[in-house]
């Protein structure tokens, strides 16, 4: 189990924010914090997510969205299950 911070740049398309959130939910990640800001020519979005599954899967799926122009992730915390 781990928590990650995703930072995305997204085209200024009305649907783009919904598309990102749909992928995050469908691929099994729980949103714990979110911010969206409109800048000159795009949205900047940060999402903290929590999941037991690989962040790689989510990153690959988000990368397929046409309105996501940049995407990075960093691990915030990792919780190891006790034996």
């Amino acid at each position: 189990m781990a928590q990650y911070l995703l930072t995305l740049e997204i085209s200024l398309e009305p649907l783009a924010i919904e598309q990102v959130l749909q992928v995050v939910r469908y691929r099994g990640f729980r949103v714990t914090d979110i911010t969206v800001a409109e800048t000159q020519n795009h949205y900047t979005m940060t999402i903290s997510v929590f999941s037991e599954t690989s962040i790689r899967n989510l990153m690959q799926q988000l990368n397929k969205l046409y309105d996501v122009t940049s995407l990075t992730s960093e691990m915030i915390s990792s919780l190891k299950k006790s034996a």
């Binding site: 009305p14 649907l15 919904e18 598309q19 749909q22 469908y26 790689r56 899967n57 690959q60 799926q61 990368n63 397929k64 969205l65 046409y66």
Partner: protein
Amino acid sequence: MNGASCVLDYLIKYQQTDSVFGYPGGAIMPLYDAMLDFDLTHYLSRHEQGAGFAAIGYARATGKTGVCIATSGPGATNVITVLADAKLDSVPLVMITGQVARPAMGSDAFQEVDVVGLSISVTKHCLQVGTPEELLPKLHQAFEIAQSGRPGPVLIDIPKDILMMDGVEWSPPQCVQAVIDDAPLDDDITEAVANINQLLSEAEKPLIYAGGGIAMAEAIDCFRAFVERTSLPVVSTLKGLGSVLPNYPLNLGMLGMHGLSAANHAVQTCDVLLVIGARLDDRATGKLDEFAPHAKVIHLDIDPAEIDKRRASIHSTTAPLKHLLPLLNATGNYAQWRDKVSTHKVAKAYDYSPKADISAPVFLRQLSDKMSLSDAVTCDVGQHQMWVAQHIQFGHPYNHLSSGGLGTMGFGLPAAIGAKVARPENTVVAVCGDGSFMMNIQELATLKRYGIAVKVVVLDNQRLGMVKQWQELFHEERYSETDLSDNPAFAEVATAFGIASSQITQQHQVQSAINEMLSHDGPFLLHVRLDHRDNVWPIVPPNTANHEMMEG
């Protein structure tokens, strides 16, 4: 020229679209009005889902992009299943929906539904045209996205007032993005190719796992050349059937839940599994933890999100198969392995000896023997779908149109309409189940209206057969809502639609009935009564390894 005319002008000039499938209604009326002035053939279905599946059939039978048109509200909601089907089977499809005029949007207007919101999760991408200036660029983007990389459905929603708007400076699309399939190979591929070739050559029991992505990458010829120079055994997914020709001795057939014994055992014993254009879905792999337990996996697929998604690979690349496959080779000594899989294939070959009653496998093999390898078969979903996959011989994946990922009942008849429109020179047979057929039976009217010579076979066991089979095998014979013994007389139904038909109940009638159907000039329906006790074998029980199959 108004917005609607620009859409049609674009379809004809930029996409060389010759046929579209759809159903009119209020918000899309300007587009239908403009159609009267353009040289574009529109096929009117009797339900939007029928139009959508026809567009999918057109696309899957040719590799071209299918185009479907529906109105707002219920027209749009009726195509949601179509979009999901195209998404899961990676079909290039552009769905054009009319929307209420912009001043009415967001007011719960008559026939207003948030179709882009609804379609986010079932499309590769969805777009709504917000201004007249966006119309052509977004339409162009819809086609580019549908066709590029891993294909898929794109929905474009166009408000009625934009379709009606005159006097706008409609600019043609600016640049055409390079389609990913045609992108040149980068330097990284050299090392990947060397690694793959080394692993294949060092293997003792290598096996090719052929998926639907091979045909979609237009790589069938170079795939067959690769198979020929390596003489490796091949198993196919449902969508990969036809990638190798039926007469290739080491064509082991379909793997998976209803895969052939030789195919499943080869996967479970191979030491290197070369997965090409496939996503290793659950119906193919069986219990994932025990899938191909001795194999190092090499995964070739254009979609990076599929690599390592369900099974970790040793080597992988997303390079275009057309460029990649000619570079691959396998030079080990596999004689023993070839003998082993070949012996298993022969030992488990299906016995097509006819009995008094009609059996679906025997019927389908007789049908297949009467067809050319360039002809096409569509099907619905259920037992008959698996019998089609097991017993019809396919010359190309474009000739086998089956709803694989979504498993949509009612797919077969409208998909056959699209396939026949696209390829009038080929025989197209829709093999339907009695349950599935009723889900889009209204499309018989489309066959009649245009005289589309689709041959419809209704395999009727008066049951929802696959669900019944599961109830029998895995639910202690507790049959719940799977009895369809009050089915209508399908041949009489066809007659009422103005379509020639016949019915058979005994094996001795089969050959002449198939001959009559195939030689009939025009659409034809053949109603075939089956014993409801027949099941599909083999079957791998759910959450079980593929080699632990039940064989009847």
